[in-house]
Symmetry: C2
Subunit: 213 residues, 2 copies
């Protein structure tokens, strides 16, 4: 993870994190990224599923396939963001958002090797539903051929984090006597909702029950 001209933070340097552990931590906390591609000279930002294995970020490539066909070997920007809270300051100017965000640049590789494709899909699945790859029916040859998986290195990346209370406790605004602090936000998973078509005697397997928290 080497800072380059475009990943070096221009603003708010105090929020920059530079270790690989910080990057891994932000990426491990989600499974949907926003991938930016350039199509006809304009940016296109698409939500898509991702998974990380070692130094590789795998992307479910169907959504980005149009741009890749038009412009193979072009750079993408993958951004993963977690919103952790609304920071309510004494002044509007200091109002902020607590968040963790990772940005990765690179030229994605279309995974052609069937074995690596399976690895990529397994990684995507494990990222959002650990245990499901072994439980459900794995892709057959035809399904595998119909699926696009992209691989992106994690070399050119940056991480930005804001945590904690507002920044105006030591300003004249503190004398206003206003409440200041954070309303925390988090993502929760509810109890599994069975497919209405499911026979009533099919139990929720433990790996799915454990997804709810």
């Amino acid at each position: 993870m080497v800072p380059t001209e475009r990943t070096r933070l221009r603003r708010a340097r105090e929020k920059a994190r530079t270790s690989r552990a910080d990057l891994d931590s932000v990426l491990a906390a989600g499974f949907v990224c926003h991938v930016g591609v350039v199509v006809d000279d304009a940016p296109m930002v698409l939500p898509t599923a991702y998974g990380v294995l070692g130094d590789t970020l795998y992307l479910h490539g169907s959504v980005a396939s149009r741009s890749l066909v038009q412009a193979p070997a072009s750079t993408v920007c993958v951004t993963v963001t977690h919103v952790d809270g609304v920071v309510l300051a004494r002044s509007m100017f200091e109002q902020s958002i607590n968040y963790r965000s990772a940005m990765i640049y690179g030229i994605p590789r279309v995974v052609e090797d069937p074995e690596e494709k399976l690895t990529g899909l397994r990684t995507l699945t494990e990222q959002c539903a650990p245990g499901q790859w072994e439980y459900a029916r794995q892709p057959n040859r035809k399904e595998l051929a119909a699926t696009t998986v992209l691989a992106l290195g994690l070399d050119e990346a940056s991480v930005k984090v804001r945590t904690g209370p507002p920044d105006d406790a030591d300003t004249p605004d503190a004398a206003l006597g206003l409440w200041a602090g954070v309303v925390p936000m988090s993502v929760v998973r509810g109890a599994p909702v069975p497919d209405p078509a499911l026979p009533s005697d099919v139990r929720v397997p433990s790996h799915i029950a454990q997804m709810s928290r």
Copy 2:
């Protein structure tokens, strides 16, 4: 909201929504978007705060200011995504994610008029913390000058939604006897956390208490 060549969905047409009400609903459910800009021929995807007022989406423009200086009057793509659940199918091929996503294209206008700038900032604040604009200290002239607000029309937009159970109930995979359904996901706001520097006699105002749910 008129579909154009780039907002017309190529895949999964059944998931497209075309009404303005659908767009408003997706935008109203959040306050952080991912804005895509082209910098040095490469895409850059940045998380930033937004707010909607009528037909205008206001963006807190600081994060995008670098690209705007380099390439004024260039197109951006703003994407707002809510992840609603993991869709666990009988086969990996049908595994999916329930989500609501809006994508808006346009050339943002830098808001210069001080009155509209205040309106834009108020809109940004109301989107994530209703009532806070009247409660906290509003920006002074110097702060206002130091803030960049962008305005984007909602004309060129698309909305994509996936809801409900997996799609393989009526395939041969149903005979596998596997559990299938959805693990729902949602964003919750916790109890307000006061700034440690706050005097203990400052009560949480009702508009902030109401943010937690």
